[in-house]
């Protein structure tokens, strides 16, 4: 659809402002352009992280050295973890789709603080640059794992300071995005959009924003304490200076557990949008969906101790954390039940994003159930720090957030680019990706159950078979990934023009042209109905 003719206003991609070329992007305060800046940065880093994962898996195809030594392997999983967690999945959905769609979905022209929004991206890039510097400066790349556990992080000769400081700066970027979204949602909803008329993706961003704002400062101060301890030798965490290593773990997980919810809540929001749209049916149990998102965000603050069951906490602490861990699973279960019920008696349009959504529900359930096993004290003692945990968190953060991210990418692709993607290739990519994913991480549950610890460069022969299958899975997954990305880029050029509402969606972004005009709405929309109003008129 031609925005020019219809609205007499250029789409955000054609808009000619003060700057040209690259500068018209990196100096732009338009939330849509900033969303795309994040998209390209995150995709590039994801490619790096995924390639590191592929190489690690190749190393593990046989016991002993295959393609790299232990020092390189340790540096690889450290960089892989830092990149994937701090630079890919934490910003992931909020920074890309949140930035692009949040203002549109609530009928606003932009976020509350557009300049701060651009500044967050600058911080993000600065953080990434610091992490890259840590790879090349000093005596060698960091090798502590993404958790930077004390006191090992004070013993290692790897270059810690830039990496730790980089994670700190990335945290700030996340805090500012959260703050921006909170104010936007409180202040800038279109007339008539009461809280309970707000779609679920903005709701999930709202809950996420609180977590970003309240939990991230904890990791900030913790990482600064590590910097101070390494440079000034103040004994916070290192027992040889009188510090306490468990204090570090508490502080680290007080943030890093809620961070898992920063990753997964927006994913749940995006999945809710996709399922209603393609079922052509209003979401089942809207209010329960809203309450469960808020409940996860809230209870999620109080379960960090389940990362430390074998560290040496008191018995009371252990079973309290265990019980709370089981309870935090309930709202997630409620969401799964409501998603499936939404499909009931729907009129389901089997499009690629919908396939991503059902694949998401499947892998998310596996991730969640394995989480229950890990939450159980007796089982945790055996499974903690084994490959079982590695499988579990890849199922949740890669299976959950990753699948939702790709689902969202296909779902909003027509809106963002004004083009349709090629459906056949998109589906082929998805199938390969899914098969590869299960083959890659499925065997790791078994390996962990058999006792193979995580972060192991070398292993006993008993673990060989499982590792071979897992490595072969990584090749299939990688090919699927390549097809998905190439197809989307090819569709930018060759794809058919997208109409403003290709899927029959009901939320506000489908009422404006694709791609949206600079100001989003020519006239501020007035909301009178619920977000998913499919009633026939």
């Amino acid at each position: 659809m031609n925005t020019q003719k219809e609205f007499g206003e250029p789409g955000y991609l054609d808009y000619k402002g003060r700057y040209k070329g690259l500068f018209s992007w990196i100096f732009s305060t338009d939330h849509k352009r900033i969303g795309l800046l994040y998209l390209f940065s995150i995709l590039s880093l994801f490619a790096i992280g995924a390639t590191l994962g592929l190489l690690m898996k190749f190393e593990l195809i046989a016991p002993g050295k295959t393609i790299m030594g232990p020092q390189a392997y340790n540096a690889f999983f450290t960089l892989h973890g830092i990149v994937m967690i701090f630079a890919v999945v934490i910003p992931g959905l909020p920074a890309v789709f949140g930035n692009f769609l949040l203002p549109i979905m609530i009928g606003a022209k932009d976020v509350a603080f557009p300049k701060l929004n651009l500044f967050s991206w600058y911080l993000y890039v600065t953080g990434v640059v610091l992490v890259i510097i840590s790879q090349f400066a000093g005596d060698g790349p960091p090798d502590t794992g993404w958790t930077f556990y004390a006191p090992y992080s004070f013993r290692t000769t790897g270059t810690m300071l830039p990496a730790v400081f980089g994670a700190f700066v990335l945290g700030f970027s996340s805090i500012l995005t959260g703050l921006n979204f909170l104010v936007t949602i409180h202040r800038m909803r279109a007339p008539g959009m009461t809280w309970l008329k707000m779609p679920l993706f903005p709701w999930s961003l709202y809950a996420t924003a609180w977590v970003q704002l309240l939990a991230t400062p904890i990791i900030g101060i913790t990482l600064l304490m590590v910097v101070a301890e390494r440079t000034l030798h103040i004994g916070f965490f290192d027992p040889s200076l009188g510090g306490d290593p468990l204090l570090y773990q508490h502080l680290f997980w007080t943030y890093s557990h809620p961070a898992v919810y920063i990753m997964i809540l927006p994913a749940m929001g995006a999945i809710s949008e996709i399922i209603t749209t393609f079922s052509h049916k209003t979401i089942f149990g809207y209010k329960f969906m809203v309450v469960s998102v808020l409940a996860i965000a809230f209870v999620g603050y109080f379960v960090w101790g389940h990362h430390m069951f074998t560290s040496g906490m008191s018995g009371t602490a252990l079973y309290t954390f265990s019980l709370l861990t089981f309870l935090v699973a309930i709202p997630s279960a409620i969401k799964v039940f409501n998603w499936i019920s939404t499909m009931h008696k729907g009129s389901i349009d089997l499009q690629t994003p919908f396939y991503w959504a059902i694949a998401f529900i499947f892998v998310f359930m596996i991730g969640g159930f394995s989480g229950l096993i890990l939450g159980s004290l007796a089982a945790n003692v055996h499974l903690h720090n084994t490959n079982f945990v590695v499988a579990h968190f890849h199922f949740i953060v890669f299976g959950g957030t990753g699948f939702a991210f790709f689902g969202a990418m296909h779902y909003w692709f027509p809106k963002i680019t004004g083009k349709m993607y090629d459906k056949t290739w998109a589906n082929i990519g998805l199938i390969l990706f899914f098969i590869g994913f299960i083959t890659l991480y499925g065997p790791m549950f078994y390996l962990g159950f058999k006792g193979m610890p995580r972060r192991y460069f070398d292993y006993d022969e008993v673990f060989h078979a499982g590792n071979i299958i897992s490595t072969m899975g990584s090749w299939v997954l990688y090919s699927g990934l390549a097809i998905i990305i190439i197809n989307l880029f090819a569709s930018l050029k060759g794809g058919a023009k997208a109409p403003s509402d290709p899927w029959g969606g009901k939320t506000l972004e489908w009422t404006i042209p694709s791609p949206p005009p600079v100001e989003n709405f020519t006239e501020t929309p007035v909301v009178t109905k619920g977000p998913y109003d499919y009633k026939q008129v």
Partner: protein, 316 residues
């Protein structure tokens, strides 16, 4: 070696199994059930078969049902986990006490009569209580066949106990990442019959590793195997983490002392300093702070034996 089929390798295998299979079983049922329902809906209500969706905003009774039932299931799951874990927390009074010392990257087990061993040798059907000590960073002692694990935190008292129930050899791993050779930080748990254990324990030599007695300096080698020196030093010229012992004694070595490079001759005094106060002089090209002092564990006599062994590694 390790097998999961030895269902009663320790007393904690069955409690682990109860809570693991209880949760895994319920989860599998739910996973299959929900997936089948979801796929059925996708086929049954696809827009070719079902042209018009029937709108339904929700059902509060259903919501309550699928909140309450999972809560009850979750509490049951929690209960089994807690019940299985509780006995781990309290070791029997009559347990055999062994101190387990971890350092980068080896374990050493110290018995009440002064015996030391790089492997954990224990009698069957006797409760064993390990007193856990780490000398440098956090390690974690993990015996998969026994379903037990505990972190070893420097500066913190910790213990772990279990009752071995089957004679045999089992793997023991370090499961908390501790640096370069983390994946090589292993040992074997040797569960012996009571008679075998008694005679092993009575053997008063400090070391048990079977190395050939005839090798010159064999006693020094035994001490070093015991102390885990070989995790970082080789005898054949390869560099692991620290310099190799081969052709070391009597040679010139460049070290960094108080920030300045000095050349020293490797003699008895130098080696003693290198072992008792490793960070006062750092061999050029090697990292500081990795090797810890052995002042508390090695006597002068032990060190002389080590030196004898090093001398035997010179080509000339």
């Amino acid at each position: 070696m390790y097998s999961t089929t030895a269902t009663d390798a320790s007393n904690f295998v069955s409690t682990f199994n109860t809570s693991f299979y209880f949760i895994a079983g319920i989860s599998l049922l739910l996973l299959i059930g929900l997936t089948v329902i979801m796929l059925y809906f996708v086929f049954r209500y696809n827009n070719k078969k079902n042209k018009v969706a029937v709108q339904n905003e929700g059902n509060t009774r259903l919501e309550i049902i699928w909140t309450v039932i999972p809560i009850l299931l979750a509490i049951a799951m929690f209960y089994y986990g807690w019940a299985g874990w509780k006995p781990m927390n309290k070791a029997p009074k009559d347990a055999l006490k062994i101190t387990s010392v971890a350092r980068m990257w080896s374990f050493s087990f110290q018995y009440e009569n002064g015996k030391q061993s790089p492997d954990l040798v224990i009698p069957v059907n006797t409760p064993v209580k390990l007193n856990l000590v780490s000398l440098d960073v956090i390690h974690s002692i993990f015996i998969p066949a026994f379903r037990v694990k505990s972190d070893m935190v420097p500066g913190r008292e910790k213990m772990m106990w279990f009752l071995p129930q089957t004679v045999g050899d089992f793997d023991l791993y370090c499961s908390e990442y501790c640096g370069l050779r983390h994946s090589y930080m292993n040992a074997t748990v040797k569960v012996l019959s009571n008679e075998d254990y008694t005679s092993w324990y009575a053997d008063s030599s400090k070391v048990i590793t079977a190395t050939e007695e005839s090798v010159p300096g064999a006693e020094g080698l035994k001490i070093m195997i015991n102390q885990g020196c070989n995790a970082c030093h080789s005898s054949d010229g390869t560099k692991i983490v620290g310099p190799s012992y081969m052709n070391l004694y009597g040679e010139k070595q460049v070290v960094i002392r108080e920030g300045k490079e000095v050349t020293v001759t490797v003699d008895d005094e130098y080696i003693k300093r290198a072992i008792n106060d490793p960070n006062s002089e750092i061999v050029k090209g090697y990292p500081k702070g990795l090797m810890q002092s052995y002042k508390a564990t090695l006597s002068d006599d032990d060190i002389s034996k080590i030196i004898e062994y090093m001398k035997s590694l010179n080509d000339k």
